[in-house]
Point group: C2
Chain length 548, copies 2
């Protein structure tokens, strides 16, 4: 057993989202989490982004399983793209596995799903992996203690130390302490809030914030939150009951998740707040609560459509109070601002996450992170989940708390840890990066994404030229442009370009133009020069030569 | 004099940026501010956005001048596009006029620029317009009291009530109070921070925050702030002097603005912190401060290029401390996060606007807004500068402070105010909206922007078909696609489409296809159906039919 433990992050280190960590020792390897991320505005036409998993595909035989910390998309969303290539057992708590099953059913993938409870231990090759309960903004969240021949790794997953969680099931501090006492080789911990001082507020505090809203609202109340945030949903249901309102659920992911959570016993949705198939319009406004998807102002989400009167069953009306009980994901500020304005335009009142006690983070702040470090007393530390800035700040916290070796690494780097030596970062990097997936679950090659960005920036020009076998023009070239600035419709410009191409054909030696690659290149150069000079733009240029 | 005063916002009401307000009475009309806004990621290839000024162009004869509140781009940036169509006098304080002159020189526009001092009064048709000093995040900021035959309008411009401004020139509360005592028909006030409780901190507080950074930094210090923020720049220069460092200025807009500000006496840039044409590399790291553009992570800005080692004179090195002393404009979060990570990657330390005392807002918070309302005691109130949400919240503040008539309106609406009656909003809306301008200062039609968004989302397909005079195909169609998903390169798909088009031509009646519009439409329908069915996508489709 002289091999070292290798830690290989493939996602979530140096970025927010698509978390995926590989732990490997000799012939044993496991994956912790397999998440996706959502694209920003610069990757239009892309639905989701998943990590490059080439390393796993190429070493498939070693992999003994995926251990899921919880059921958020940035931890489970890439599973179909893993399992369709490399089937392996998937472990997680019941709600996590429930969400995974729903997802895999959509993809028609059969998988070996195995349910865990906190403190369960799984043997996977040379590893013994123990589940440890943590609190987070979803129920059934876990960290893992991974006993490897080189020593014990603590992988926290996303966590916060909420001492008063809604279900009473607090972070299992004792178990982290136990491993700390026995000796931890490596702590790998959540950096999302590494820049936020103090200790984050408990999920319970949101209850009082929402209670105030319920007490003041005279019309209907609409609450939008993440569809997986079972505790937040539970709090809304409980408040509806207290204030004698009925709860309507709108939005497919919300309805599906609540159904799964209820089936597994994670949500209490009492009969007296339910409405069956009834419509909110059948009730007095003051008797209605609507839970809905659409926290990020996504144009196709239920709430965004309600706000412009285009939702099939609910329309926002004067007197409605809308609570946005979720964080703003960076990049969505403008979409959310538009949503809020649309809601106000219809005479509604909006309570957003800027107001106190309408949302709390699910991630540990600095004092909680320090607590985790002091409990586990690791020899080595790798901060995960965050941009480089988050990782660096988190590593500083570990240093302050007397951890000997902090290792700031990003996706694709490899950390080797032996029993006695300190961890070291290898020179090599394994394949890593983003894989773009479209709405049909097909991969979108980088070149297509780059083409789209190019088209979006500067449009395109196509010139079709018909020549005879002597490379003489048979007729005037056809020129088509779209997305170019202020001159798409300009007949003058098109005439000018046609003349220039005709001129070029007349002046060039036929032998030269008979080489159609060369002729294409000459047309390309001509068009490129023209657009740069007259407009300062670089449209995509596609010359087509037809020999008739 | 029975005509009513008409207030017509053309920009900045219902959105952030491109502020433009028209005040009109009988044959007299004036403009207050003429700003632009920057595009978001959905309008690629657009450089700036300016308000639709059709209303001004169509009523040009009435307009007596533009009154500028201050020199920020969202208040002066659209001036060239106004003045090239409708020349008129432009009024503002010396620094504002200095910035405007620089801008108009670039556009080679000659204009009648007139310098104002606080408490100056200008006669413009039936209006008497008085300049009133306010504090803001730029020096030489003004509000205006506009005496019209219907009564006095107070237009605050962007303002905060900073009692300890860097230049000692505080908001002229007495003058606002004077007009309040005499009777104000209408207050039009800045809503940017209408959601922020309390009273904002003074610009002075940033000095102590920056002083701490200067005291702790062992290497070079780089500060990025808005190029027009003369007081912030002054504070950095003063601190450099105190800590015996030399100041380098990097970034064209910064260098230009400082030069203009210095020429007009707005900045003290003493000899002993200057470096002439020297290079930072010629000094010890601890003796250097670099002021630079690039607060928003713009990829082409000086700081972004330094952070990836592509700036011509400065490269970020281990030990540098970078202070981002500016607010994050919504939508730029990801770009700034990438910038910060790139800085950390080079071993620098970053102090961002999340840390206390590195930036303060230039806009009045709720208590300041209430102060302005109580000082001016208007009969009518129109909140300006903000999304609908800001305007509504600001109108509530006015109501709490006993203003009888609050009028929440957005761009293009017309408010009429008579001497005795309360203000009312007309049914009509004048032309309003966004005009897109590209890097060559040419207008980009909406359709081009929409085309680009379409291209970015789904790419395009062009089918070129050559037919003889009987509408028979002369050769196989040519099909070109770009930006489509995962199949651009698929020969099978192109073959299949060619076959389908050939099949269509064989099966259709020649008479039908001789109508080339109809033939185009049939090809379009065929392609559309194919891409929707096989890929669920809607590329831009452009059929071209060549009759040879």
């Amino acid at each position: 057993m002289t091999a070292a433990l290798r830690v290989i992050p493939l996602g979530g280190l140096g970025e927010i989202g698509m978390n995926l960590m590989v732990y490997e020792h000799g012939d044993t390897a496991v994956i912790v989490d397999c998440g996706m991320m959502f694209p920003d505005a610069s990757t239009l036409g892309v639905d989701v982004i998943v990590p490059d998993m080439t390393y796993i595909f190429e070493n498939a035989a070693k992999f003994r399983g995926v251990f899921l910390t919880h059921g958020h998309e940035d931890h489970i969303g890439a599973l179909p793209f893993l399992l369709e290539r490399v089937p392996m057992p998937v472990y997680g708590m019941p709600l996590t596995i429930g969400f995974v099953r729903d997802k895999l059913d959509e993809f028609e993938i059969d998988a070996d799903l195995r349910t865990l409870q906190p403190r369960d231990v799984v043997e996977a090759g040379d590893f013994r992996i123990e589940a440890i309960r943590v609190t987070h903004s979803i129920v059934d969240a876990l960290g893992y203690a991974i006993k490897t021949p080189a020593g014990t790794v603590i992988h926290t997953g996303d966590f916060k130390i909420d001492h008063t969680p809604i279900d009473g099931k607090a972070t299992d501090l004792a178990r982290f302490a136990h491993h700390g006492e026995e000796g931890v080789l490596l702590l790998v911990s959540d950096s999302t809030n590494a820049l936020v001082p103090g200790h984050g507020p408990s999920e319970k505090t949101v209850g009082s914030g929402l209670d105030r809203v319920f007490s003041n609202a005279k019309g209907r109340i609409l609450v939008t939150t993440f569809a997986s945030h079972i505790h937040r949903i539970q709090q809304v249901i409980d408040l509806a009951r207290k204030h004698k309102r009925k709860v309507f659920m709108v939005g497919r992911s919300l309805v599906d998740n609540v159904e799964t959570a209820e089936r597994l016993g994670y949500i209490r949705y009492p009969r007296d707040v339910r409405v069956g198939s009834a419509n909110p319009e059948e009730y007095e406004a003051r008797d209605v609560v609507i839970l809905t998807t659409g926290t990020q102002g996504e144009p196709r989400s239920a709430l965004a459509r309600m706000a412009i009167g285009e939702h099939k069953s609910v329309e926002i009306i004067r007197g409605d109070t809308i609570v946005i009980s979720a964080r703003t994901i960076p990049g969505n500020e403008r979409a959310i601002s538009h949503l809020i304005d649309n809601l106000y335009r219809r005479g509604a009142e909006v309570v957003s996450n800027e107001q106190p006690d309408t949302h709390v983070s699910g991630h540990a702040c600095q004092e909680e992170l320090r607590t985790m470090i002091r409990l586990t007393k690791p020899r080595n530390f790798i901060p995960m989940h965050g941009t480089l800035r988050h990782l660096i700040h988190h590593a500083r916290l570990a240093k302050e708390c007397a951890v000997p070796h902090g290792l700031v690494v990003t996706n694709g780097q490899v950390v080797e840890l032996g029993v006695e030596e300190e961890g070291r970062v290898l020179e090599e990097r394994v394949a890593n990066g983003k894989v773009f997936i479209d709405s049909e679950a097909e991969e979108v090659p980088d070149v297509v994404v780059r083409d789209r960005q190019h088209l979006a920036e500067d449009g395109f020009v196509i010139a079709v030229v018909a020549v005879d076998s002597n490379a003489k023009l048979i007729r005037d070239p056809e020129i088509i442009t779209r997305g170019l600035v202020h001159v798409d419709a300009s007949q003058d410009m098109l005439d000018e370009l046609r003349n220039q191409i005709v001129g070029m054909f007349n002046e060039s030696h036929p032998e030269e133009l008979r080489d159609s690659d060369l002729a294409q290149e000459k047309i390309r150069a001509l068009l490129k020069r023209y657009f740069r000079k007259t407009m300062g733009r670089r449209p995509m240029i596609l010359p087509v030569i037809w020999e008739m």
